[in-house]
Protein backbone atom coordinates (compact mmCIF):
# COMPACT_ATOMS: atom_id res chain seq x y z
CA UNK A 1 0.00 0.00 0.00
CA UNK A 2 1.51 3.32 -1.03
CA UNK A 3 1.36 6.37 1.22
CA UNK A 4 -1.50 8.77 0.50
CA UNK A 5 -0.64 11.25 -2.14
CA UNK A 6 -0.55 14.94 -1.17
CA UNK A 7 -3.18 17.26 -2.57
CA UNK A 8 -2.12 18.56 -5.94
CA UNK A 9 -3.54 21.52 -7.79
CA UNK A 10 -4.26 19.40 -10.84
CA UNK A 11 -7.45 20.46 -12.60
CA UNK A 12 -8.84 16.90 -12.81
CA UNK A 13 -8.65 15.12 -9.48
CA UNK A 14 -8.33 11.33 -9.33
CA UNK A 15 -11.82 9.95 -9.10
CA UNK A 16 -10.89 6.59 -7.60
CA UNK A 17 -7.86 4.83 -6.08
CA UNK A 18 -7.44 2.83 -9.28
CA UNK A 19 -6.56 6.05 -11.16
CA UNK A 20 -3.51 6.62 -8.99
CA UNK A 21 -0.62 4.18 -9.25
CA UNK A 22 0.23 2.25 -6.12
CA UNK A 23 -3.24 2.27 -4.66
CA UNK A 24 -5.26 -0.95 -4.35
CA UNK A 25 -7.82 -1.88 -7.00
CA UNK A 26 -11.28 -0.35 -6.58
CA UNK A 27 -13.48 -2.09 -4.06
CA UNK A 28 -17.13 -2.27 -5.04
CA UNK A 29 -18.86 -1.76 -1.73
CA UNK A 30 -21.18 0.50 0.15
CA UNK A 31 -18.18 2.62 1.09
CA UNK A 32 -17.72 3.71 -2.53
CA UNK A 33 -21.25 5.06 -2.71
CA UNK A 34 -20.83 6.76 0.63
CA UNK A 35 -17.56 8.36 -0.47
CA UNK A 36 -19.09 9.51 -3.74
CA UNK A 37 -21.96 11.16 -1.93
CA UNK A 38 -19.57 12.79 0.56
CA UNK A 39 -17.43 13.98 -2.35
CA UNK A 40 -20.47 15.55 -4.04
CA UNK A 41 -21.54 17.21 -0.81
CA UNK A 42 -18.03 18.61 -0.34
CA UNK A 43 -17.98 20.01 -3.86
CA UNK A 44 -21.41 21.55 -3.39
CA UNK A 45 -20.36 23.19 -0.12
CA UNK A 46 -17.22 24.62 -1.67
CA UNK A 47 -19.14 25.81 -4.71
CA UNK A 48 -21.81 27.49 -2.60
CA UNK A 49 -19.23 29.14 -0.35
CA UNK A 50 -17.20 30.47 -3.24
CA UNK A 51 -20.35 31.55 -5.08
CA UNK A 52 -21.47 33.55 -2.05
CA UNK A 53 -18.03 35.04 -1.76
CA UNK A 54 -18.20 36.01 -5.41
CA UNK A 55 -21.69 37.52 -5.01
CA UNK A 56 -20.61 39.51 -2.00
CA UNK A 57 -17.67 40.80 -3.99
CA UNK A 58 -20.05 41.84 -6.77
CA UNK A 59 -22.36 43.64 -4.34
CA UNK A 60 -19.50 45.38 -2.58
CA UNK A 61 -18.64 49.01 -3.20
CA UNK A 62 -15.92 47.78 -5.48
CA UNK A 63 -18.57 46.26 -7.76
CA UNK A 64 -18.94 47.79 -11.23
CA UNK A 65 -21.70 50.41 -11.57
CA UNK A 66 -24.93 49.82 -13.43
CA UNK A 67 -25.00 50.00 -17.22
CA UNK A 68 -25.47 53.43 -18.59
CA UNK A 69 -23.72 54.99 -15.67
CA UNK A 70 -20.64 56.70 -16.84
CA UNK A 71 -17.98 56.29 -14.24
CA UNK A 72 -14.24 56.61 -14.58
CA UNK A 73 -13.69 53.72 -12.17
CA UNK A 74 -15.75 51.23 -14.27
CA UNK A 75 -12.86 49.59 -16.15
CA UNK A 76 -10.90 49.12 -12.94
CA UNK A 77 -13.88 47.56 -11.18
CA UNK A 78 -14.57 45.24 -14.12
CA UNK A 79 -10.96 44.24 -14.20
CA UNK A 80 -10.99 43.62 -10.45
CA UNK A 81 -14.13 41.50 -10.78
CA UNK A 82 -12.52 39.51 -13.55
CA UNK A 83 -9.47 38.87 -11.44
CA UNK A 84 -11.64 37.85 -8.50
CA UNK A 85 -13.61 35.52 -10.76
CA UNK A 86 -10.43 33.88 -12.00
CA UNK A 87 -9.14 33.51 -8.43
CA UNK A 88 -12.47 32.05 -7.34
CA UNK A 89 -12.34 29.55 -10.20
CA UNK A 90 -8.81 28.52 -9.29
CA UNK A 91 -9.78 28.26 -5.65
CA UNK A 92 -12.75 26.13 -6.54
CA UNK A 93 -10.62 23.78 -8.62
CA UNK A 94 -7.96 23.56 -5.91
CA UNK A 95 -10.55 22.90 -3.22
CA UNK A 96 -12.18 20.21 -5.34
CA UNK A 97 -8.83 18.58 -5.92
CA UNK A 98 -7.95 18.77 -2.25
CA UNK A 99 -11.27 17.28 -1.13
CA UNK A 100 -11.05 14.52 -3.72
CA UNK A 101 -7.50 13.70 -2.73
CA UNK A 102 -8.43 13.60 0.95
CA UNK A 103 -11.41 11.37 0.25
CA UNK A 104 -9.25 9.05 -1.81
CA UNK A 105 -6.74 8.97 0.99
CA UNK A 106 -9.46 8.07 3.52
CA UNK A 107 -10.82 5.43 1.19
CA UNK A 108 -7.36 3.94 0.73
CA UNK A 109 -6.87 3.83 4.49
CA UNK A 110 -10.22 2.16 5.01
CA UNK A 111 -9.39 -0.35 2.27
CA UNK A 112 -6.07 -1.06 3.93
CA UNK A 113 -7.80 -1.60 7.28
CA UNK A 114 -10.36 -3.89 5.66
CA UNK A 115 -7.61 -5.89 3.97
CA UNK A 116 -5.81 -6.23 7.31
CA UNK A 117 -8.97 -7.40 9.06
CA UNK A 118 -9.72 -9.82 6.24
CA UNK A 119 -6.21 -11.27 6.36
CA UNK A 120 -6.50 -11.63 10.15
CA UNK A 121 -9.83 -13.47 9.80
CA UNK A 122 -8.33 -15.75 7.16
CA UNK A 123 -5.37 -16.54 9.43
CA UNK A 124 -7.75 -17.31 12.29
CA UNK A 125 -9.85 -19.63 10.11
CA UNK A 126 -6.73 -21.50 8.98
CA UNK A 127 -5.58 -21.78 12.59
CA UNK A 128 -8.98 -23.14 13.69
CA UNK A 129 -8.97 -25.61 10.82
CA UNK A 130 -5.53 -26.89 11.79
CA UNK A 131 -6.66 -27.24 15.40
CA UNK A 132 -9.72 -29.19 14.29
CA UNK A 133 -7.65 -31.50 12.11
CA UNK A 134 -5.30 -32.12 15.01
CA UNK A 135 -8.22 -32.84 17.36
CA UNK A 136 -9.75 -35.19 14.78
CA UNK A 137 -6.53 -37.17 14.47
CA UNK A 138 -6.10 -37.29 18.24
CA UNK A 139 -9.67 -38.52 18.77
CA UNK A 140 -9.29 -41.16 16.06
CA UNK A 141 -6.02 -42.35 17.58
CA UNK A 142 -7.69 -42.59 20.98
CA UNK A 143 -10.61 -44.60 19.59
CA UNK A 144 -8.28 -46.93 17.73
CA UNK A 145 -6.26 -47.46 20.90
CA UNK A 146 -9.44 -48.41 22.76
CA UNK A 147 -10.35 -50.80 19.97
CA UNK A 148 -6.90 -52.33 20.14
CA UNK A 149 -7.19 -52.85 23.91
CA UNK A 150 -10.59 -54.46 23.42
CA UNK A 151 -9.13 -56.75 20.76
CA UNK A 152 -6.24 -57.73 23.06
CA UNK A 153 -8.58 -58.69 25.87
CA UNK A 154 -10.80 -60.55 23.43
CA UNK A 155 -7.78 -62.51 22.20
CA UNK A 156 -6.77 -63.25 25.79
CA UNK A 157 -10.22 -64.61 26.57
CA UNK A 158 -10.14 -66.61 23.34
CA UNK A 159 -6.75 -68.09 24.30
CA UNK A 160 -8.13 -68.91 27.73
CA UNK A 161 -11.09 -70.59 26.11
CA UNK A 162 -8.80 -72.54 23.79
CA UNK A 163 -6.65 -73.71 26.69
CA UNK A 164 -9.73 -74.70 28.65
CA UNK A 165 -11.06 -76.65 25.70
CA UNK A 166 -7.74 -78.42 25.22
CA UNK A 167 -7.39 -79.23 28.92
CA UNK A 168 -10.95 -80.53 29.18
CA UNK A 169 -10.38 -82.78 26.16
CA UNK A 170 -7.06 -83.95 27.64
CA UNK A 171 -8.69 -84.87 30.96
CA UNK A 172 -11.56 -86.66 29.25
CA UNK A 173 -9.24 -88.92 27.26
CA UNK A 174 -8.51 -91.49 29.97
Amino acid sequence: MSPPEPPSPAPTPPSSPADTPGLPPPRVSRLSGMFDSVRHVGRDVVSVALGRLFESQEKSPLAPPEAGEASPAAPDAAKRVGVLHAVAQQLRGAADTYVAAKLDEIEARVDEKLDTIEARIDRKIVELHEQLVEMRDRELRHRLRLLKVTLIFTALVAVLSLVYKWVSQFWQLP
Binding site: L132, V133, R136, L144, K148, L151, A158, S161, L162
Partner: protein
Protein backbone atom coordinates in the same frame (compact mmCIF):
# COMPACT_ATOMS: atom_id res chain seq x y z
CA UNK B 1 -28.74 -84.71 32.14
CA UNK B 2 -25.13 -83.52 32.03
CA UNK B 3 -23.96 -80.65 34.20
CA UNK B 4 -23.51 -77.35 32.22
CA UNK B 5 -19.97 -76.17 31.74
CA UNK B 6 -19.45 -72.94 33.76
CA UNK B 7 -16.75 -71.67 31.42
CA UNK B 8 -19.02 -72.04 28.42
CA UNK B 9 -21.72 -70.17 30.30
CA UNK B 10 -19.23 -67.44 31.19
CA UNK B 11 -18.00 -67.22 27.60
CA UNK B 12 -21.46 -67.09 26.09
CA UNK B 13 -22.76 -64.54 28.59
CA UNK B 14 -19.69 -62.36 28.05
CA UNK B 15 -20.22 -62.50 24.29
CA UNK B 16 -23.89 -61.60 24.60
CA UNK B 17 -23.23 -58.72 27.00
CA UNK B 18 -20.44 -57.25 24.88
CA UNK B 19 -22.43 -57.64 21.67
CA UNK B 20 -25.44 -55.89 23.23
CA UNK B 21 -23.22 -53.11 24.56
CA UNK B 22 -21.62 -52.65 21.16
CA UNK B 23 -24.94 -52.53 19.33
CA UNK B 24 -26.52 -50.08 21.78
CA UNK B 25 -23.46 -47.79 21.87
CA UNK B 26 -23.02 -47.75 18.11
CA UNK B 27 -26.71 -47.19 17.41
CA UNK B 28 -26.84 -44.35 19.95
CA UNK B 29 -23.77 -42.70 18.50
CA UNK B 30 -25.06 -42.94 14.94
CA UNK B 31 -28.44 -41.56 16.03
CA UNK B 32 -26.80 -38.59 17.78
CA UNK B 33 -24.69 -37.79 14.72
CA UNK B 34 -27.71 -38.01 12.41
CA UNK B 35 -29.74 -35.76 14.71
CA UNK B 36 -26.87 -33.27 14.80
CA UNK B 37 -26.45 -33.14 11.03
CA UNK B 38 -30.10 -33.27 10.03
CA UNK B 39 -31.75 -30.00 9.04
CA UNK B 40 -31.76 -27.47 6.24
CA UNK B 41 -30.58 -24.33 8.02
CA UNK B 42 -27.32 -22.83 6.73
CA UNK B 43 -25.28 -23.77 9.78
CA UNK B 44 -26.15 -27.46 9.47
CA UNK B 45 -25.44 -27.31 5.76
CA UNK B 46 -22.07 -25.70 6.42
CA UNK B 47 -21.32 -28.33 9.06
CA UNK B 48 -22.18 -31.14 6.63
CA UNK B 49 -19.99 -29.61 3.96
CA UNK B 50 -17.12 -29.18 6.40
CA UNK B 51 -17.44 -32.76 7.63
CA UNK B 52 -17.47 -33.99 4.04
CA UNK B 53 -14.28 -32.06 3.45
CA UNK B 54 -12.79 -33.60 6.60
CA UNK B 55 -13.69 -37.07 5.36
CA UNK B 56 -12.17 -36.40 1.97
CA UNK B 57 -8.99 -34.88 3.39
CA UNK B 58 -8.48 -37.69 5.89
CA UNK B 59 -5.05 -39.33 5.69
CA UNK B 60 -4.32 -42.83 7.03
CA UNK B 61 -0.58 -42.35 7.32
CA UNK B 62 -0.56 -40.74 10.82
CA UNK B 63 -2.63 -43.68 12.14
CA UNK B 64 -0.82 -46.42 10.28
CA UNK B 65 0.82 -47.82 13.43
CA UNK B 66 -2.46 -48.25 15.30
CA UNK B 67 -4.15 -49.75 12.25
CA UNK B 68 -1.35 -52.27 11.78
CA UNK B 69 -1.60 -53.36 15.42
CA UNK B 70 -5.37 -53.77 15.08
CA UNK B 71 -4.87 -55.87 11.97
CA UNK B 72 -2.35 -58.02 13.85
CA UNK B 73 -4.75 -58.65 16.74
CA UNK B 74 -7.61 -59.41 14.33
CA UNK B 75 -5.36 -62.01 12.67
CA UNK B 76 -4.57 -63.52 16.08
CA UNK B 77 -8.28 -63.74 16.82
CA UNK B 78 -8.98 -65.48 13.51
CA UNK B 79 -6.17 -67.98 14.18
CA UNK B 80 -7.56 -68.73 17.64
CA UNK B 81 -11.02 -69.19 16.16
CA UNK B 82 -9.58 -71.60 13.63
CA UNK B 83 -7.79 -73.50 16.40
CA UNK B 84 -11.09 -73.77 18.27
CA UNK B 85 -12.52 -75.49 15.24
CA UNK B 86 -9.56 -77.86 15.02
CA UNK B 87 -9.85 -79.06 18.62
Amino acid sequence: MSRPDPFLIYRTSLFIALAAYYVVTTAGGVWRVVALLRGSDPHRRLLRTYLSYQLVSFRVRPLAGELLQIAFWCTILLVIYWLHGKL
